[in-house]
Assembly symmetry: C2
């Protein structure tokens, strides 16, 4: 069983949470792939370099200077920090951007209403290279930067990378996907930890959107989840990073499981 | 035959020289490994972040903040820019820091007279992983950042990385090493392009140092070269990057060849 795990910028930005997560990640049995988000360092570096952060609908617009900064921070500092910490935990990690070994080829997002700039939409995952690496006992750690194989580096949504990688790998081996985030799962009431919805089917998802329980940034995340489950990933879950150990090592059912 | 090539910061900093070099590199027959230096972007980013660059004897002193910057710039921006450009040239490049797949383990330089900070002295190269990668038709591109396998990332001399990688790989396959730099080779008179010394033996090297022909920064570079040739690398050469094509594709003898 291959486990693909995605962590967001909130874990990347918090050294204690990151260390705790990586200790749990390093102990997962079998093959595993980590996909990480960016975090706030990119904004700090951009500001210092005098680059104005531009946001449209909560999404960063990536101009030519910003894609350099996110390449530095995500594929450089964040990725190598995670890799070196995992190495210290005897987890043989290999950091990858999508350009490395052509692992994720994407295209620059086509401009419709909004020009997001140097943002990539994923076309193809090199499952063959990832399989070879996993067979060596090496665990890929993927940064949210891809390329178009024509020389452009592209800022790419980490949730999408996680689901497309999981789908591609599910053609080769049994694959589960876990999105770790800052909540206990999908909740009916964001202020009530006991309101986690343990399982959601596509028709329930539709209802939850209509009821306004699932809104805004959760919608593309859930769409990624259902894409994965409908395309061969055997289990997709959304859970708090601190519940990873209980879920994977102790078989405790926590978080929200998406169902086909 | 494996060809290990090192390029310095002067090529990394010059987009036209870099593109031209990468076009030549992509056409080299057989397996190849590229080791790159850092370039000046790290200094620019450090300045913008308010980190003072500290130099002792022409070597950057790497404090805790500076090692973050060089990790960003060398293992992030520079490495991924090179990898994506090579991918566009149909060269299946894989960017690596020393932490990735534990490719280069080093230790933080022991403080004698000078504390260089987070600078790594190389202990071990993972030739087995590099061999597996090369067998997949994938070409490693190595940034001058290593790790101590205890969680520290360390700024590491790219010349040393190139020679230790070449030595380690020479135990597995026939390996040649080429240092590309900004001159035509080792020259008797730096102002006379026709004064390139085509071959140097260890005893001639000793004489050239005594005569003051080889001085300063060239001495550690030459020491790296002779280390490599005495430890199994079949050919070591110092040449101008623009002569690479003539040397490798056309068999023209250019630059300086070091002899055992």
């Amino acid at each position: 069983m291959l486990t693909v795990i995605k962590i967001g910028g909130n874990i990347v930005d918090n050294p204690d949470a990151l260390d705790s997560f990586l200790a749990d990640f390093s102990k997962i049995e079998g093959s595993k792939i980590l996909v990480h988000g960016g975090g706030k360092v990119a904004t700090k570096v951009s500001k210092a370099l005098g680059i104005e952060a531009q946001m449209i609908d909560g999404r960063r617009v990536t101009d030519a200077e910003t894609v350099k900064v996110v390449t530095m921070v995500y594929a450089g500092l964040v990725n190598k920090t995670i890799v070196s910490k995992l190495q210290a935990l005897d987890c043989n990690a290999l950091g990858l951007s999508g350009a490395d070994a052509n692992v994720i080829r994407s295209h620059k997002r086509i401009v419709k209403d909004i020009d997001y700039g140097f943002v990539g939409d994923v076309d193809e995952v090199n499952a063959s290279f990832l399989t070879t690496v996993l067979e060596q006992g090496v665990q890929p750690v993927m940064a949210p930067i891809t390329h178009d194989k024509e020389g452009l580096l592209l800022n790419t949504n980490a949730d999408t990378i996680a689901s497309t990688v999981a789908v591609a790998m599910s053609q080769v081996m049994e694959t589960q996907l876990i999105y770790c985030f800052e909540l206990e799962g999908v909740m009916r009431d964001i202020n009530d930890k006991d309101s986690v919805i343990s399982q959601i089917t596509p028709s329930e998802y539709k209802e939850l959107k209509e009821e306004g329980v699932i809104v805004a940034g959760m919608i593309p995340k859930m769409d990624n989840c259902f894409d994965a489950i409908s395309q061969g990933v055997s289990k997709v879950r959304i859970a708090h990073a601190s519940d990873l150990k209980a879920i994977l090592s102790e078989g405790v059912e926590k978080g929200t499981t998406l169902q086909a």
